[in-house]
Protein backbone atom coordinates (compact mmCIF):
# COMPACT_ATOMS: atom_id res chain seq x y z
CA UNK A 1 0.00 0.00 0.00
CA UNK A 2 1.17 3.53 -0.74
CA UNK A 3 0.77 6.45 1.57
CA UNK A 4 -1.98 8.77 0.39
CA UNK A 5 -0.89 11.47 2.77
CA UNK A 6 2.47 12.05 4.40
CA UNK A 7 2.76 14.67 7.10
CA UNK A 8 6.28 15.19 8.35
CA UNK A 9 7.10 17.40 11.37
CA UNK A 10 4.66 20.14 10.48
CA UNK A 11 4.51 23.23 12.66
CA UNK A 12 2.27 26.26 12.48
CA UNK A 13 1.85 29.19 14.81
CA UNK A 14 -0.49 32.16 14.87
CA UNK A 15 1.46 34.95 16.53
CA UNK A 16 2.30 33.56 19.94
CA UNK A 17 -0.15 30.67 19.82
CA UNK A 18 1.33 27.41 18.67
CA UNK A 19 -1.39 25.71 16.65
CA UNK A 20 0.63 22.71 15.50
CA UNK A 21 3.83 21.47 17.01
CA UNK A 22 5.91 18.88 15.18
CA UNK A 23 3.01 16.87 13.80
CA UNK A 24 3.87 13.74 11.82
CA UNK A 25 1.79 10.85 10.55
CA UNK A 26 1.00 8.91 7.39
CA UNK A 27 -2.36 7.94 5.98
CA UNK A 28 -2.57 4.86 3.79
CA UNK A 29 -4.54 4.82 0.59
CA UNK A 30 -8.22 3.73 0.97
CA UNK A 31 -8.08 4.34 4.68
CA UNK A 32 -10.73 5.99 6.85
CA UNK A 33 -8.60 8.12 9.10
CA UNK A 34 -9.94 10.19 11.97
CA UNK A 35 -8.38 13.20 13.67
CA UNK A 36 -9.85 13.33 17.15
CA UNK A 37 -9.37 16.23 19.50
CA UNK A 38 -11.18 18.93 21.43
CA UNK A 39 -12.02 22.32 19.93
CA UNK A 40 -8.85 24.31 19.46
CA UNK A 41 -6.63 21.24 19.31
CA UNK A 42 -5.34 22.18 15.86
CA UNK A 43 -7.44 19.79 13.77
CA UNK A 44 -8.81 22.45 11.46
CA UNK A 45 -5.42 24.11 11.06
CA UNK A 46 -3.94 20.78 10.08
CA UNK A 47 -6.71 20.15 7.60
CA UNK A 48 -6.31 23.63 6.11
CA UNK A 49 -2.63 22.90 5.58
CA UNK A 50 -3.48 19.56 3.97
CA UNK A 51 -5.91 21.17 1.54
CA UNK A 52 -3.45 24.00 0.72
CA UNK A 53 -5.45 26.86 2.22
CA UNK A 54 -2.69 27.54 4.76
CA UNK A 55 1.10 27.34 4.56
CA UNK A 56 2.89 25.37 7.26
CA UNK A 57 5.70 27.26 9.01
CA UNK A 58 7.96 24.25 8.69
CA UNK A 59 7.79 20.58 7.77
CA UNK A 60 6.54 18.91 4.61
CA UNK A 61 3.13 17.68 3.58
CA UNK A 62 2.54 15.40 0.62
CA UNK A 63 -0.90 14.61 -0.69
CA UNK A 64 -0.98 11.73 -3.17
CA UNK A 65 2.77 12.23 -3.48
CA UNK A 66 2.42 15.93 -4.37
CA UNK A 67 4.01 18.56 -2.15
CA UNK A 68 1.28 20.98 -1.11
CA UNK A 69 3.63 23.91 -0.64
CA UNK A 70 5.50 23.76 -3.94
CA UNK A 71 2.63 22.48 -6.11
CA UNK A 72 -0.61 23.62 -4.51
CA UNK A 73 -2.58 23.71 -7.77
CA UNK A 74 -1.78 20.11 -8.60
CA UNK A 75 -2.56 19.00 -5.07
CA UNK A 76 -5.94 20.74 -5.16
CA UNK A 77 -7.01 18.65 -8.12
CA UNK A 78 -6.81 15.37 -6.23
CA UNK A 79 -8.48 16.42 -3.00
CA UNK A 80 -12.09 17.15 -2.18
CA UNK A 81 -12.82 19.24 0.88
CA UNK A 82 -15.87 19.62 3.07
CA UNK A 83 -15.21 22.52 5.41
CA UNK A 84 -16.48 22.87 8.93
CA UNK A 85 -18.69 25.83 8.09
CA UNK A 86 -21.04 25.58 5.15
CA UNK A 87 -19.39 26.87 1.99
CA UNK A 88 -22.27 26.64 -0.46
CA UNK A 89 -23.66 29.68 -2.21
CA UNK A 90 -27.15 29.72 -0.76
CA UNK A 91 -28.56 31.92 -3.51
CA UNK A 92 -27.82 29.27 -6.12
CA UNK A 93 -29.68 26.02 -6.51
CA UNK A 94 -28.23 22.65 -5.55
CA UNK A 95 -27.49 21.89 -9.20
CA UNK A 96 -25.90 25.28 -9.84
CA UNK A 97 -23.59 24.84 -6.86
CA UNK A 98 -22.47 21.42 -8.06
CA UNK A 99 -22.15 22.64 -11.64
CA UNK A 100 -20.05 25.60 -10.52
CA UNK A 101 -17.68 23.24 -8.79
CA UNK A 102 -17.43 21.01 -11.86
CA UNK A 103 -16.70 24.00 -14.10
CA UNK A 104 -14.03 25.36 -11.79
CA UNK A 105 -12.31 21.97 -11.65
CA UNK A 106 -12.51 21.58 -15.42
CA UNK A 107 -14.81 18.57 -15.59
CA UNK A 108 -16.16 18.28 -19.15
CA UNK A 109 -19.86 19.02 -19.57
CA UNK A 110 -21.22 15.54 -20.25
CA UNK A 111 -19.24 13.94 -17.47
CA UNK A 112 -20.21 16.76 -15.15
CA UNK A 113 -23.93 16.19 -15.62
CA UNK A 114 -23.52 12.46 -15.26
CA UNK A 115 -21.59 12.77 -12.01
CA UNK A 116 -23.94 15.36 -10.55
CA UNK A 117 -26.90 13.04 -11.14
CA UNK A 118 -25.10 10.01 -9.72
CA UNK A 119 -23.87 11.83 -6.63
CA UNK A 120 -27.21 13.50 -5.94
CA UNK A 121 -28.75 10.07 -6.06
CA UNK A 122 -26.13 8.78 -3.65
CA UNK A 123 -26.90 11.46 -1.05
CA UNK A 124 -30.65 11.12 -1.77
CA UNK A 125 -31.20 14.69 -2.87
CA UNK A 126 -32.34 14.15 -6.47
CA UNK A 127 -35.68 15.84 -5.92
CA UNK A 128 -33.96 18.86 -4.36
CA UNK A 129 -31.86 19.46 -7.45
CA UNK A 130 -33.52 22.68 -8.54
CA UNK A 131 -34.13 24.11 -5.08
CA UNK A 132 -32.23 27.12 -3.74
CA UNK A 133 -29.66 26.02 -1.19
CA UNK A 134 -31.03 28.44 1.41
CA UNK A 135 -34.22 26.38 1.59
CA UNK A 136 -32.30 23.23 2.62
CA UNK A 137 -31.76 22.04 6.18
CA UNK A 138 -28.23 21.99 7.53
CA UNK A 139 -28.03 18.21 7.22
CA UNK A 140 -28.99 18.42 3.55
CA UNK A 141 -26.45 21.18 2.97
CA UNK A 142 -23.75 18.96 4.41
CA UNK A 143 -24.81 16.17 2.08
CA UNK A 144 -24.66 18.54 -0.91
CA UNK A 145 -21.16 19.51 0.16
CA UNK A 146 -20.06 15.90 0.33
CA UNK A 147 -21.45 15.32 -3.15
CA UNK A 148 -19.73 18.47 -4.37
CA UNK A 149 -16.34 17.41 -3.04
CA UNK A 150 -16.49 14.31 -5.24
CA UNK A 151 -17.54 15.87 -8.55
CA UNK A 152 -13.98 16.22 -9.81
CA UNK A 153 -13.41 12.56 -8.90
CA UNK A 154 -11.09 13.30 -6.04
CA UNK A 155 -9.19 10.38 -4.59
CA UNK A 156 -8.78 11.97 -1.17
CA UNK A 157 -11.67 13.44 0.76
CA UNK A 158 -11.18 15.79 3.70
CA UNK A 159 -14.10 16.32 6.01
CA UNK A 160 -13.80 18.89 8.77
CA UNK A 161 -16.32 18.04 11.49
CA UNK A 162 -18.93 16.88 8.97
CA UNK A 163 -21.49 16.04 11.62
CA UNK A 164 -21.20 19.01 13.94
CA UNK A 165 -24.52 20.72 14.62
CA UNK A 166 -26.57 17.93 13.07
CA UNK A 167 -29.16 15.77 14.74
CA UNK A 168 -28.45 12.12 15.48
CA UNK A 169 -30.35 10.88 12.43
CA UNK A 170 -28.50 13.10 9.98
CA UNK A 171 -25.19 12.20 11.57
CA UNK A 172 -25.96 8.54 11.14
CA UNK A 173 -26.86 9.07 7.48
CA UNK A 174 -23.68 10.97 6.70
CA UNK A 175 -21.65 8.06 8.01
CA UNK A 176 -23.74 5.71 5.92
CA UNK A 177 -22.97 7.69 2.76
CA UNK A 178 -19.29 7.75 3.59
CA UNK A 179 -19.32 3.99 4.06
CA UNK A 180 -21.09 3.50 0.72
CA UNK A 181 -18.61 5.80 -1.03
CA UNK A 182 -15.69 3.80 0.28
CA UNK A 183 -17.20 0.63 -1.11
CA UNK A 184 -17.83 2.16 -4.51
CA UNK A 185 -14.56 3.87 -5.28
CA UNK A 186 -10.95 4.16 -4.29
CA UNK A 187 -11.25 6.85 -1.70
CA UNK A 188 -9.10 7.89 1.22
CA UNK A 189 -11.13 9.76 3.81
CA UNK A 190 -9.69 11.99 6.51
CA UNK A 191 -12.27 13.19 8.96
CA UNK A 192 -11.89 15.43 11.99
CA UNK A 193 -14.32 15.20 14.84
CA UNK A 194 -14.73 15.74 18.52
CA UNK A 195 -17.49 13.14 18.84
CA UNK A 196 -15.75 10.13 20.29
CA UNK A 197 -18.48 7.63 19.42
CA UNK A 198 -18.06 8.41 15.72
CA UNK A 199 -14.47 7.34 15.38
CA UNK A 200 -15.06 3.78 16.58
CA UNK A 201 -15.72 2.70 13.00
CA UNK A 202 -12.60 4.31 11.56
CA UNK A 203 -9.54 2.36 10.47
CA UNK A 204 -7.13 4.49 12.41
CA UNK A 205 -7.47 7.36 14.84
CA UNK A 206 -5.03 10.17 15.46
CA UNK A 207 -5.56 11.79 18.85
CA UNK A 208 -4.42 15.37 18.82
CA UNK A 209 -4.46 17.95 21.55
CA UNK A 210 -2.85 21.39 21.91
CA UNK A 211 -1.17 20.97 18.55
CA UNK A 212 0.54 17.69 19.36
CA UNK A 213 -0.14 14.17 18.15
CA UNK A 214 -0.65 12.03 21.23
CA UNK A 215 -1.34 8.68 19.58
CA UNK A 216 -2.02 7.23 16.13
CA UNK A 217 -3.45 3.75 15.91
CA UNK A 218 -6.55 1.69 15.33
CA UNK A 219 -9.35 2.19 17.89
CA UNK A 220 -8.87 -1.37 19.23
CA UNK A 221 -5.14 -0.98 19.77
CA UNK A 222 -5.63 2.39 21.43
CA UNK A 223 -8.24 0.95 23.76
CA UNK A 224 -5.96 -1.94 24.68
CA UNK A 225 -2.97 0.32 25.26
CA UNK A 226 -4.45 3.38 26.94
CA UNK A 227 -8.03 2.52 27.77
CA UNK A 228 -9.12 2.10 31.32
CA UNK A 229 -12.18 1.42 33.35
CA UNK A 230 -14.16 4.55 34.19
CA UNK A 231 -16.52 5.08 37.09
CA UNK A 232 -19.38 7.46 36.46
CA UNK A 233 -20.42 8.72 39.86
CA UNK A 234 -23.42 10.82 40.88
CA UNK A 235 -22.97 11.75 44.57
CA UNK A 236 -25.92 12.56 46.83
CA UNK A 237 -24.49 15.88 47.98
CA UNK A 238 -22.16 18.51 46.62
CA UNK A 239 -19.93 18.09 49.66
CA UNK A 240 -19.26 14.48 48.70
CA UNK A 241 -18.52 15.60 45.17
CA UNK A 242 -15.94 18.06 46.42
CA UNK A 243 -14.47 15.41 48.70
CA UNK A 244 -14.02 12.94 45.84
CA UNK A 245 -12.58 15.61 43.59
CA UNK A 246 -9.99 16.62 46.21
CA UNK A 247 -9.20 13.01 47.10
CA UNK A 248 -8.30 12.12 43.48
CA UNK A 249 -7.43 15.48 41.93
CA UNK A 250 -5.70 14.10 38.84
CA UNK A 251 -8.09 11.23 38.22
CA UNK A 252 -11.43 13.01 38.19
CA UNK A 253 -13.30 15.07 35.61
CA UNK A 254 -16.64 16.77 36.22
CA UNK A 255 -19.27 16.48 33.51
CA UNK A 256 -23.02 17.23 33.59
CA UNK A 257 -23.21 17.10 37.39
CA UNK A 258 -21.45 13.75 37.46
CA UNK A 259 -17.87 12.87 38.21
CA UNK A 260 -15.89 10.60 35.95
CA UNK A 261 -13.21 8.77 37.92
CA UNK A 262 -10.40 6.92 36.18
CA UNK A 263 -10.33 3.57 37.84
CA UNK A 264 -7.15 1.53 38.03
CA UNK A 265 -9.17 -1.69 37.95
CA UNK A 266 -11.59 -3.63 40.10
CA UNK A 267 -9.49 -3.17 43.24
CA UNK A 268 -9.72 0.59 42.93
CA UNK A 269 -13.45 0.36 42.36
CA UNK A 270 -13.90 -1.73 45.49
CA UNK A 271 -11.86 0.64 47.62
CA UNK A 272 -13.77 3.58 46.18
CA UNK A 273 -17.10 1.92 46.93
CA UNK A 274 -16.23 1.01 50.51
CA UNK A 275 -15.24 4.61 51.15
CA UNK A 276 -18.04 6.50 49.42
CA UNK A 277 -20.61 3.75 48.82
CA UNK A 278 -23.17 5.12 51.26
CA UNK A 279 -23.06 8.66 49.89
CA UNK A 280 -23.53 7.91 46.21
CA UNK A 281 -26.84 8.03 44.41
CA UNK A 282 -25.70 6.30 41.25
CA UNK A 283 -22.55 4.66 39.97
CA UNK A 284 -21.91 3.01 36.67
CA UNK A 285 -18.80 1.21 35.51
CA UNK A 286 -17.68 1.78 31.93
CA UNK A 287 -15.37 -0.61 30.22
CA UNK A 288 -12.43 0.76 28.19
CA UNK A 289 -13.67 3.06 25.45
CA UNK A 290 -12.06 5.69 23.30
CA UNK A 291 -13.34 8.26 25.73
CA UNK A 292 -11.20 6.75 28.46
CA UNK A 293 -8.28 6.63 26.05
CA UNK A 294 -8.75 10.30 25.46
CA UNK A 295 -9.02 11.02 29.17
CA UNK A 296 -5.89 9.13 30.05
CA UNK A 297 -3.90 10.66 27.20
CA UNK A 298 -4.93 14.27 27.74
CA UNK A 299 -5.92 14.17 31.39
CA UNK A 300 -9.23 15.86 30.67
CA UNK A 301 -12.45 15.53 28.74
CA UNK A 302 -13.21 17.01 25.39
CA UNK A 303 -13.94 20.60 26.31
CA UNK A 304 -16.52 22.97 24.98
CA UNK A 305 -16.00 26.47 23.80
CA UNK A 306 -18.14 29.56 23.59
CA UNK A 307 -19.28 30.81 20.19
CA UNK A 308 -16.49 32.60 18.39
CA UNK A 309 -16.73 35.88 16.51
CA UNK A 310 -17.45 34.02 13.32
CA UNK A 311 -20.48 32.16 14.69
CA UNK A 312 -21.87 35.37 16.09
CA UNK A 313 -21.51 37.14 12.74
CA UNK A 314 -23.16 34.23 10.98
CA UNK A 315 -26.06 34.34 13.42
CA UNK A 316 -26.35 38.07 12.76
CA UNK A 317 -26.38 37.45 9.03
CA UNK A 318 -29.09 34.82 9.35
CA UNK A 319 -31.31 37.31 11.10
CA UNK A 320 -31.09 39.47 8.00
CA UNK A 321 -28.59 41.84 9.52
CA UNK A 322 -26.99 42.80 6.25
CA UNK A 323 -28.76 43.93 3.12
CA UNK A 324 -26.14 42.68 0.70
CA UNK A 325 -26.89 39.15 1.71
Amino acid sequence: MTAAIQVDSVAKRYGRTIALNDVSFDVQSRELFALLGPNGAGKTTLLHILCTVLHPDSGTVRVAGIDVVSQPTRARRVVGVVFQDPSLDDRLTVFENLNFHGLVYGVPRGLRRQRIDALLELVELTEWRERLVRTLSSGMKRRVEIARALIHDSSILFLDEPTVGLDAQSRERIWQYLGRLRQERELTIIVTTHYIDEVEGCDRVCIIDRGRVLAVNSPETLKAAHGQQLLRVLPREDATMMEIMTAYPDKTVRRDGEIIVQSGGDKFAEAFLSRYGGRIRRLSVEQPSLESVFLSLTGRGIRDQEAGARERTLAFGRQGGEHTR
Binding site: V53, P86, S87, L88, L103, V104, H152, D153, R310
Partner: protein, 197 residues
Amino acid sequence: MNETAMVARDRTLPALRLQCAGLYAIWFREVKRAIRDRGQLIGGVSRPLLWVLIMGIGLNPYFRGEVYGEVRFVVPYTYLQFIFPAVIALNIMYTSVQSAVSVIWDRQFGFLREILVSPLPRATILLGKVLGGATVALFHGCLVLALAQFADLSLSLGDVARGLVLMALLAFGSHHSGSLLPAASAPSRASACSPMP
Protein backbone atom coordinates in the same frame (compact mmCIF):
# COMPACT_ATOMS: atom_id res chain seq x y z
CA MET B 1 -20.73 5.59 -12.31
CA ASN B 2 -17.82 3.92 -10.67
CA GLU B 3 -16.23 2.49 -13.77
CA THR B 4 -16.67 5.57 -15.89
CA ALA B 5 -15.24 7.62 -13.09
CA MET B 6 -12.19 5.44 -12.87
CA VAL B 7 -11.57 5.58 -16.58
CA ALA B 8 -12.06 9.30 -16.67
CA ARG B 9 -9.80 10.14 -13.80
CA ASP B 10 -7.55 12.18 -16.05
CA ARG B 11 -10.23 13.52 -18.32
CA THR B 12 -10.09 17.14 -17.37
CA LEU B 13 -10.02 20.08 -19.73
CA PRO B 14 -6.67 21.40 -21.00
CA ALA B 15 -5.13 24.29 -19.08
CA LEU B 16 -6.40 27.23 -21.15
CA ARG B 17 -9.92 25.87 -21.45
CA LEU B 18 -9.88 25.16 -17.73
CA GLN B 19 -9.10 28.82 -17.09
CA CYS B 20 -11.92 29.91 -19.37
CA ALA B 21 -14.37 27.47 -17.77
CA GLY B 22 -13.45 28.74 -14.31
CA LEU B 23 -13.66 32.35 -15.43
CA TYR B 24 -17.07 31.70 -16.95
CA ALA B 25 -18.28 29.92 -13.80
CA ILE B 26 -17.29 32.79 -11.53
CA TRP B 27 -18.64 35.44 -13.91
CA PHE B 28 -21.91 33.58 -14.36
CA ARG B 29 -22.36 33.17 -10.62
CA GLU B 30 -21.97 36.92 -10.07
CA VAL B 31 -24.50 37.71 -12.77
CA LYS B 32 -26.94 35.11 -11.56
CA ARG B 33 -26.75 36.31 -8.00
CA ALA B 34 -27.36 39.88 -9.11
CA ILE B 35 -30.43 38.86 -11.11
CA ARG B 36 -31.85 37.02 -8.10
CA ASP B 37 -31.13 39.88 -5.72
CA ARG B 38 -34.33 41.90 -5.90
CA GLY B 39 -32.98 44.58 -3.52
CA GLN B 40 -30.01 45.38 -5.71
CA LEU B 41 -32.21 45.69 -8.77
CA ILE B 42 -34.67 47.97 -6.99
CA GLY B 43 -31.73 50.13 -5.89
CA GLY B 44 -30.41 50.19 -9.43
CA VAL B 45 -33.74 51.40 -10.80
CA SER B 46 -34.74 53.77 -8.02
CA ARG B 47 -31.48 55.74 -7.87
CA PRO B 48 -31.71 57.01 -11.45
CA LEU B 49 -35.44 57.59 -11.09
CA LEU B 50 -34.77 59.74 -8.04
CA TRP B 51 -31.95 61.71 -9.61
CA VAL B 52 -33.14 62.07 -13.20
CA LEU B 53 -36.89 62.29 -12.90
CA ILE B 54 -37.46 63.85 -9.49
CA MET B 55 -34.36 65.90 -8.64
CA GLY B 56 -33.31 66.53 -12.22
CA ILE B 57 -36.61 67.68 -13.62
CA GLY B 58 -37.47 69.40 -10.37
CA LEU B 59 -34.27 71.46 -10.23
CA ASN B 60 -34.13 72.13 -13.97
CA PRO B 61 -35.79 75.58 -13.86
CA TYR B 62 -33.36 76.88 -11.20
CA PHE B 63 -30.27 76.05 -13.20
CA ARG B 64 -29.75 79.20 -15.21
CA GLY B 65 -26.82 81.56 -15.49
CA GLU B 66 -28.68 84.24 -13.63
CA VAL B 67 -27.67 86.19 -10.55
CA TYR B 68 -30.35 88.34 -8.83
CA GLY B 69 -32.66 88.11 -11.83
CA GLU B 70 -29.99 89.28 -14.24
CA VAL B 71 -28.69 86.84 -16.84
CA ARG B 72 -24.88 86.97 -16.61
CA PHE B 73 -23.94 84.00 -18.72
CA VAL B 74 -25.62 81.38 -20.85
CA VAL B 75 -25.30 77.75 -19.90
CA PRO B 76 -25.43 75.55 -22.98
CA TYR B 77 -27.13 72.65 -21.11
CA THR B 78 -30.15 72.12 -18.98
CA TYR B 79 -29.49 70.96 -15.43
CA LEU B 80 -30.74 67.51 -16.36
CA GLN B 81 -28.33 67.23 -19.26
CA PHE B 82 -25.58 68.42 -16.96
CA ILE B 83 -26.09 65.78 -14.28
CA PHE B 84 -27.08 62.90 -16.58
CA PRO B 85 -23.55 61.45 -17.08
CA ALA B 86 -22.93 61.79 -13.36
CA VAL B 87 -26.04 59.75 -12.58
CA ILE B 88 -24.78 57.02 -14.92
CA ALA B 89 -21.40 57.06 -13.19
CA LEU B 90 -23.07 57.06 -9.78
CA ASN B 91 -25.13 54.02 -10.60
CA ILE B 92 -22.15 52.14 -12.02
CA MET B 93 -19.86 52.96 -9.15
CA TYR B 94 -22.40 52.12 -6.49
CA THR B 95 -23.15 48.73 -8.01
CA SER B 96 -19.47 47.95 -8.60
CA VAL B 97 -18.48 48.69 -5.06
CA GLN B 98 -21.45 46.76 -3.73
CA SER B 99 -20.48 43.67 -5.67
CA ALA B 100 -16.81 44.12 -4.79
CA VAL B 101 -17.77 44.18 -1.13
CA SER B 102 -19.60 40.88 -1.66
CA VAL B 103 -16.15 39.28 -1.54
CA ILE B 104 -16.27 39.97 2.19
CA TRP B 105 -19.57 38.13 2.38
CA ASP B 106 -18.23 35.26 0.35
CA ARG B 107 -15.46 35.00 2.86
CA GLN B 108 -17.70 35.36 5.87
CA PHE B 109 -20.10 32.72 4.61
CA GLY B 110 -17.43 30.32 3.48
CA PHE B 111 -17.92 30.31 -0.28
CA LEU B 112 -14.62 32.04 -0.91
CA ARG B 113 -12.85 29.05 0.62
CA GLU B 114 -14.54 26.75 -1.87
CA ILE B 115 -13.08 28.90 -4.66
CA LEU B 116 -9.69 29.18 -2.99
CA VAL B 117 -9.16 25.42 -2.75
CA SER B 118 -10.01 25.03 -6.42
CA PRO B 119 -7.14 24.64 -8.89
CA LEU B 120 -7.79 28.09 -10.37
CA PRO B 121 -5.03 30.66 -9.97
CA ARG B 122 -5.88 33.66 -7.79
CA ALA B 123 -5.63 36.03 -10.74
CA THR B 124 -8.37 34.17 -12.61
CA ILE B 125 -10.60 34.23 -9.55
CA LEU B 126 -10.15 37.99 -9.21
CA LEU B 127 -10.69 38.56 -12.92
CA GLY B 128 -13.88 36.49 -12.93
CA LYS B 129 -15.19 38.33 -9.92
CA VAL B 130 -14.36 41.75 -11.41
CA LEU B 131 -15.80 40.91 -14.83
CA GLY B 132 -18.99 39.61 -13.22
CA GLY B 133 -19.43 42.69 -11.06
CA ALA B 134 -18.57 44.97 -13.97
CA THR B 135 -21.21 43.31 -16.16
CA VAL B 136 -23.87 43.92 -13.55
CA ALA B 137 -22.68 47.50 -13.05
CA LEU B 138 -22.73 48.11 -16.79
CA PHE B 139 -26.30 46.85 -16.91
CA HIS B 140 -27.26 49.25 -14.12
CA GLY B 141 -25.58 52.04 -16.09
CA CYS B 142 -27.69 51.10 -19.12
CA LEU B 143 -30.82 51.42 -16.98
CA VAL B 144 -29.96 55.11 -16.63
CA LEU B 145 -29.03 55.47 -20.29
CA ALA B 146 -32.52 54.27 -21.16
CA LEU B 147 -33.85 57.44 -19.50
CA ALA B 148 -31.92 59.62 -21.96
CA GLN B 149 -35.05 60.81 -23.73
CA PHE B 150 -36.36 62.37 -20.51
CA ALA B 151 -33.20 64.45 -20.36
CA ASP B 152 -33.70 65.80 -23.88
CA LEU B 153 -30.61 64.03 -25.07
CA SER B 154 -30.56 62.85 -28.63
CA LEU B 155 -27.90 60.19 -28.86
CA SER B 156 -26.70 58.67 -32.10
CA LEU B 157 -25.70 55.02 -32.23
CA GLY B 158 -22.07 56.04 -32.23
CA ASP B 159 -22.57 58.11 -29.09
CA VAL B 160 -24.20 55.17 -27.38
CA ALA B 161 -21.37 52.85 -28.38
CA ARG B 162 -18.75 55.30 -27.17
CA GLY B 163 -20.67 55.77 -23.95
CA LEU B 164 -20.89 52.02 -23.41
CA VAL B 165 -17.14 51.59 -23.80
CA LEU B 166 -16.49 54.35 -21.28
CA MET B 167 -19.08 52.89 -18.93
CA ALA B 168 -17.50 49.45 -19.17
CA LEU B 169 -14.09 50.94 -18.38
CA LEU B 170 -15.53 52.80 -15.41
CA ALA B 171 -17.27 49.68 -14.13
CA PHE B 172 -14.14 47.59 -14.48
CA GLY B 173 -11.96 50.20 -12.81
CA SER B 174 -14.24 50.97 -9.92
CA HIS B 175 -14.80 47.29 -9.26
CA HIS B 176 -11.06 46.80 -9.12
CA SER B 177 -10.57 49.58 -6.60
CA GLY B 178 -13.60 48.27 -4.71
CA SER B 179 -11.90 44.89 -4.51
CA LEU B 180 -9.18 46.48 -2.44
CA LEU B 181 -11.69 47.07 0.36
CA PRO B 182 -12.05 43.39 1.32
CA ALA B 183 -8.30 42.97 1.03
CA ALA B 184 -7.74 45.84 3.43
CA SER B 185 -10.48 44.94 5.87
CA ALA B 186 -10.55 42.50 8.76
CA PRO B 187 -7.03 41.10 8.60
CA SER B 188 -7.79 39.24 11.83
CA ARG B 189 -9.91 36.67 10.01
CA ALA B 190 -7.62 36.61 7.02
CA SER B 191 -5.63 33.82 8.58
CA ALA B 192 -8.56 31.47 8.09
CA CYS B 193 -8.43 31.75 4.33
CA SER B 194 -5.45 33.86 3.46
CA PRO B 195 -4.76 33.10 -0.17
CA MET B 196 -1.70 31.11 -0.98
CA PRO B 197 -0.02 31.76 -4.32
